[in-house]
């Protein structure tokens, strides 16, 4: 029964990872940018929500209303002010740019709030740890269930948005071929800025939920980036439904790893990530070389 309980916990944890990875996957899918500041932008949102709760007593659930539009504006400005320029210089420069941004955000937050560990859990009361008892041994946490539901709704909503709205179709067209998109009347610059706004807003959403479910510091961003990156790679980079699956696989692997050994939480997640990555590389090599025989044949 303990494994069933861990499986449920892993799936729900996967919802958080999917939520966190959503923006990373979306930004790569549209602009081919791997945003190394993604985790730090999530922490930035967590810090803003913490500041609102701490200084003005605003509920973290109300803080979403203010923080998410703010993060969308940050994303829009980030694209227009930095990423757009760096994209012109090749694929490596945006990577370095977002790496630099990550360092600036981390140290800026440290200057603002100091190195103390913080959490929004006290601000949401019992909701942070209450749960439903499914059986005598299996419990489902309210907050974990809410985060999972939000992740499914966000990823599903984004998929519907991309398929059934004109802006969504414009984003997909621009992602596939920005030059031709301009020839059908799409302002690719504007579409990129909108996509960045959506991606950073979703990072903010994940950041506030992170602050509700555990503690964070100004330097928590890189760890969150690793989890997001692993979920994206496991699920297939650029795929929204794959991101949900990737998050769940990572979450289940971590909870099972923790069940086997207390040190196994992180290690099991990394092992699954590496196994999937290796599998993808072998599969790609097999495809490009025409089967296993071609892969292992000696080059003349």
């Amino acid at each position: 029964m303990i494994w069933v309980s861990q499986l449920i916990n892993g799936v729900l944890l996967g919802g958080y990872y999917a939520l966190l990875a959503c923006g990373l996957s979306f930004m790569f899918g549209v602009m081919r940018i791997i945003n190394l500041a993604h985790g730090d932008l999530a922490i930035l949102a967590a810090c803003v929500a913490f500041f609102m709760a701490d200084s003005a007593g605003i509920s973290p659930f109300v803080a979403f209303i203010g923080v998410l539009p703010l993060m969308a504006v940050v994303g829009w400005l980030l694209q227009r002010g930095m990423l757009e320029r760096s994209l012109r210089a090749g694929i490596l420069v945006p990577l370095l740019t977002t790496f630099g941004l990550a360092i600036v955000v981390e140290n800026g937050l440290f200057e603002w709030l100091g190195a103390d560990t913080r959490s929004l859990a006290p601000d949401i009361g019992d909701f942070a740890f209450d749960s439903w008892a499914v059986t005598g041994n299996i419990y489902i946490g309210w907050l974990a269930a809410l985060i999972f539901a939000v992740a499914v709704a966000l990823l599903g909503g984004l998929k519907l948005f991309l398929t059934h709205t004109s802006l969504g179709r414009a984003i997909r067209a621009t992602a596939e071929d920005p030059d031709t998109a301009e020839l059908v009347g799409i302002n690719a610059r504007s579409v990129y800025a909108t996509a960045a706004a959506i991606a950073v807003a979703t990072a903010g959403l994940a950041g506030i939920f992170l602050a509700m479910r555990e503690t964070f510091t100004p330097y928590s961003g890189p760890t969150q980036l690793i989890f997001a990156f692993e979920a994206v790679v496991i699920g297939g980079i650029g795929s929204l439904s794959g991101t949900l699956i990737g998050g769940i696989v990572l979450g289940v692997a971590q909870t099972f790893g923790a069940q086997i050994n207390p040190q196994g939480f992180l290690i099991a997640g990394h092992v699954v990530f590496l196994a999937v990555l290796a599998g993808r590389l072998v599969f790609a090599a097999v495809r490009t070389r025409g089967g296993f025989h071609g892969l292992f044949a000696r080059r003349s």
């Binding site: 004109s166 179709r169 414009a170 997909r172 067209a173 596939e176 071929d177 030059d179 031709t180 998109a181 301009e182 020839l183 059908v184 009347g185 799409i186 302002n187 690719a188």
Partner: protein, 240 residues
């Protein structure tokens, strides 16, 4: 006033000058066919007019307004649509989505999803198919339909018959003739001289980036155009 005016246009690909001081005008309702051998500069000229290629010099006037500096998406919204060489469809999207994405540009007119499907009946049963899975003829019909969805005032068509089976070429040209009969203004790049002479009101022949022969299609013979095409005859520009 001409719908399109091109004045001393230059365009480069790095050190190579692909278009050299080209000037011409296209009146409302006219069909101009640009013919010429590979590398003559036809595609670059069309892409420069559409805003997909930056000019090195000269001016492009559309309805008397200088559009040389405005981006491609704004030119489309002004009414210049390009069907690019190789179709350049959004292959991950369905045919319907390819059409709708262009239809959202904000221009109003007679063309919508229903009228495009009516003009290209072969698309009716393929609307839900991914554009990447279509045959060449279906892809070309989708590409032209996508441009029409923007309700253009000027349609630029680049090598619409290239790589198509003869039966598909016939189908595409039947649709084009219907468009021309309906009063559309078209600049058409075509390597098939016979087809160019058959559908166009005027023909311009390009060689090494310049227009070396231009005149009314009815007044030109296939031999004249062929000589200019290969740079054999004496260049001349007849009065439009």
């Amino acid at each position: 006033m001409a719908l399109l005016g091109v004045e001393r246009l230059d365009a480069r690909h790095g050190l190579l000058q692909a278009v050299r001081g080209v000037s011409f005008e296209v009146a409302q309702g006219e069909t101009l066919a640009l013919v010429g051998a590979n590398g003559a500069g036809k595609t670059t000229l069309l892409r420069t007019i559409a805003g997909a290629h930056k000019p090195a010099g000269g001016r492009i006037l559309f309805e008397g307004i200088d559009v040389t500096a405005i981006p491609a998406y704004a030119r489309l919204r002004a009414g210049i649509a390009l069907v690019p060489e190789g179709r350049r469809l959004f292959t991950e999207m369905t045919v319907k989505e390819n059409l709708l994405v262009a239809g959202a540009c904000g221009r109003v007119g007679p063309w919508n999803l229903d009228t495009v499907v009516e003009a290209f009946p072969l698309l009716r049963r393929r609307l839900a198919s991914r554009a990447g899975n279509l045959s060449g003829g279906e892809q070309q019909a989708t590409a032209i339909g996508r441009a029409l969805m923007t309700n253009p005032r000027l349609l630029l068509l680049d090598e619409v018959s290239l790589g198509l089976a003869p039966i598909a070429v016939e189908a595409v040209y039947r649709s084009l003739e219907a468009l021309i009969a309906g009063g559309a203004t078209i600049v058409l790049v075509e390597q098939d001289i016979n087809r160019a002479l058959a559908v166009a009101t005027r023909v311009a022949c390009m060689l090494e980036g310049r227009i070396i022969l231009e005149g009314r299609a009815k007044e030109m013979t296939r031999e004249q155009v062929t000589e200019a095409y290969f740079g054999l005859g004496r260049a001349r520009r007849a009065a439009p």
